[in-house]
Subunit: 346 residues, 2 copies
């Protein structure tokens, strides 16, 4: 008996960590998986899509990157709660012609990410479609005694921090969209776009040490994500352009006229943490956590809205220009397909 | 500040049960939801896709049906474990033109299913695409003292049962594909295709009373699903054509030459339970559970493979012809699009 779909699942299962163990009591092979957290731990759960022409371009992103990044993105939400990753589920819709080499490489990248983040594949669903569409559900656990990293706890006077560099992933995307991604010397600039690192250890540290009054990951860009954090907390914010840890645009890219401030404010997918720290805790927060810088970019204020103080010292409202699936690409085509066309035209 | 994507999520959240409560500690609005099961209960988790042209045709399935059925399908896997539904997550990718009336109606159907099954929406992700693609993760809980309904416990001599009617959902699908779904008198025949009922109470009863040695839901058709159950249990099976609780094809459909046995064996989406019962328990099993019949269709045997005894008394191998995304529709187009074309041609 050959059942093609079952074979596909079996191929994925063999390559990705998926054996029962730890919190996974019953693994792939039944109608559902069975989970049991350690005593005094709660589950956190999130899901994230990764879709061809929306989140990536199939002919520009290596299959291995698609596998790695799809899982890293989803896992970033676990980091943003201060939780430890445990299991994931994969909904995978792919064209027939992707079921061979492409799928093997994709699974390879996913398996690497799963091992890196400590995740086991607990289930999934496969379909055949015209375009690649993935949806990944990730679950982690958090101790009852830990302070959960929520978005809604920021208060006036809290300092605003970001981890890592802003705009690196967006710079990589721009290079891809402009067809500059094949230059060997620019390849390292693609790393933040291809291989984001969820801030797992940092999130756990912030949760355990109760450093953060509010936190979230930077997935759609600081300008949109900070608005979300402020809205959830019922506060406003002021940030300073000169303090932003912006990506360094190499001099040889000057001809492309990238604006580091624009990339850093509105570019998404950096997957660092955006978090607020009450005044009394600021001095205890280290300046770096492992190799990642923690940068104070501004403060929470009363009222509503996010202001930015420019390098000229003038304050203005910060527009939320981060990625928003249902606002951009007015031509009615998926996001990246639109972006690629728009960038080539301008 | 208007953020279109956040508004979309907010619209869904308002219509679908999604308030924190029971096992849902932290609901929509943060990077992830937080879950805590009651003491001595484990979680079960599953995910299921529902994709335009693969699982439904957007111009033939009312939006309300898409919402209801997408959630019912996924919840059926929870029933098949003997668990109680708790929460779900929705990955939703839709075209811009579906964000108005269509989305409202779709959410309406989903909200109705959520209330019916006792589910709360705990999170999700939205994107804009050319075709509708949904992936739903559902979680339930099961008591430590209950017997989990697994696929791998069937032994030789166990009786094989199915709940409900076989082929009803497939008959509905065939009517849709042949364009017969607009006849008012056939409308009731579409109900099994449009509004499947996960066998939640039956699954829970089987689990608590320890009636079943193995169980799964019939999602892809008895012929393929029984093979899967046998493979997981390392056994074979013999079923009897004359015992199958086949859908009644109305006389006025004779011109369409539907074969009830074919529909019942290979048609998927009935979402009844397929389960095996050890000999000593058979007499204790009721003939009906609530309004749903429980029908003994055969027995588990040693060895491998599934045999069927025809109405003429002759035994033959049963081919697994249920739906398999990666085997059918050789023209490289999605399943239902292919089916619709194929049926019209033949």
């Amino acid at each position: 008996m050959t059942i093609a779909e079952d074979n596909l699942i079996e191929r994925i299962r063999r390559k990705v960590p998926s054996a029962p163990g730890d919190s996974l009591l019953l693994a792939i092979g039944d109608d559902a998986a069975v989970l049991r957290a350690k005593t005094n731990r709660d589950w956190v759960i999130t899901c994230d899509q990764f879709i061809e022409d929306v989140h990536f371009l199939a002919n520009r992103y290596p299959a291995e990157v698609v596998g790695y990044k799809s899982l890293a993105r989803a896992t970033s939400d676990i980091a943003a709660m201060g939780a430890s990753p445990e299991i994931f589920l994969l909904s995978l819709a792919i064209p027939q012609e992707r079921t061979g080499k492409w799928l093997n490489e994709m699974i390879g990248g996913m398996a690497r990410a799963a091992r890196k983040f400590g995740l086991r594949l607990a289930g999934g669903d496969t379909s055949r479609t015209e375009k690649i569409a993935m949806s990944i559900t990730v679950m982690g656990t958090v101790g009852h005694g830990d302070e959960l990293l929520r978005r809604d706890g920021a208060g006036p006077g809290d300092a605003i921090f970001v981890s890592g560099v802003l705009g690196g992933a967006e710079l990589g995307l721009r290079l891809i969209l402009r067809g500059e991604d094949n230059h060997k010397k620019f390849r390292r600039l693609l790393v933040p776009q291809f291989y984001p690192r969820p801030a797992l250890e940092l999130g756990q540290r912030l949760a355990r040490k109760r450093f953060a009054s509010a936190a979230m990951d930077i997935s759609d860009g600081v300008s949109i994500d900070l608005q979300r954090l402020c809205k959830a907390s019922g506060v406003g914010a002021r940030i300073y352009a000169e303090r932003l840890p912006l990506v360094a645009v190499p001099p040889e890219l000057r001809r492309l006229q990238f604006d580091a401030l624009e990339l850093g404010l509105h570019g998404g997918e950096d997957y660092g943490l955006l978090f607020t720290v009450p005044r009394r805790m600021i001095s205890r927060l280290p300046q770096r956590f492992r190799a990642v810088g923690l940068t104070r970019i501004g403060e929470i204020v009363g009222g509503r809205g996010v202001k930015i103080v420019g390098t000229d010292g003038r304050e203005s409202g910060l527009k939320a220009k981060g990625w928003d699936h249902f606002r951009l690409h007015p031509e009615g085509i998926p996001r990246l397909a639109y972006e690629a066309r728009w960038v080539r035209r301008n």
